[in-house]
């Protein structure tokens, strides 16, 4: 299953939900908000 999970997608990596949210919050809640002066 793991092989399929990786092979059936674009190149990349898996992340747990909390880690995925940390990335999302850094991008959109921090960097993008600062960029647009929110």
């Amino acid at each position: 299953v793991a092989e399929w999970w990786v092979g059936s997608r674009a190149a990349g990596a898996a992340a747990t939900l909390p880690e995925a949210f940390r990335l999302a919050a850094a991008v959109f809640g921090d960097r993008l908000r600062r960029l647009i002066g929110a």
């Binding site: 995925a20 990335l23 999302a24 919050a25 850094a26 809640g29």
Partner: protein
């Protein structure tokens, strides 16, 4: 499966390339920042795609935003402005009040609550089994479903396409 699939942390994923890309984006001037703010608001309020001509003075900044991968332009329209997609994806984000919008990918869908500082519901499907599910996300993080994993794909030349999944 967690033991066999390579896992990355947020810190791993925010590598030197990530920081360099954002430093480049942060070099845009006040006019481009204001235009991007207007574009993101329009996607949330009215949905997309957005006709560039409808942006007024902000239209002049769109090529700069496109060059820095902050928006994606096709045939005179802004078809996506991260995190929003103007065409259907597997990630429907339900905003307070019930408005439904599309997010470009899983990470973008997860980030909308933090961007807007309000709770949202993400509707998507499992990449493994195809089952549809909902995930409530608050500005400080997702609620429940601790076993969900995200796939963070490399965008590369795939701009305009959803390339991550849950």
């Amino acid at each position: 499966m967690k033991d066999r699939v390579p896992l990355r942390s947020a810190a791993d994923l925010m590598d030197a390339t990530f920081h360099a890309k954002w430093m480049d984006r942060e070099s845009i001037g006040p006019a481009a920042r204001a235009a991007l703010r207007d574009i993101l608001t329009r996607f949330a309020t009215d949905g997309g795609p957005i006709e560039i001509a409808a942006l007024g003075a902000g239209a002049a900044s769109v090529p700069e935003l496109d060059a820095r991968d902050l928006v994606y332009v096709d045939a005179g329209r802004i078809v996506l402005a991260y995190p929003w997609a103007g065409t259907p994806t597997d990630f429907v984000v339900v905003l307070p009040g019930g408005r439904e919008r599309w997010a470009c990918c899983a990470i973008d869908a997860l980030g909308i609550a933090a961007l807007r500082q309000e709770p949202v519901t993400v509707r998507t499907r499992c990449h493994h089994c195809g089952e549809r599910f909902e995930l409530d996300v608050r500005p400080d993080g997702p609620v429940g479903l601790p076993g969900v994993m995200a796939w963070v794909g490399e965008r590369g030349d795939l701009r305009g396409k959803a390339c991550t999944s849950l």
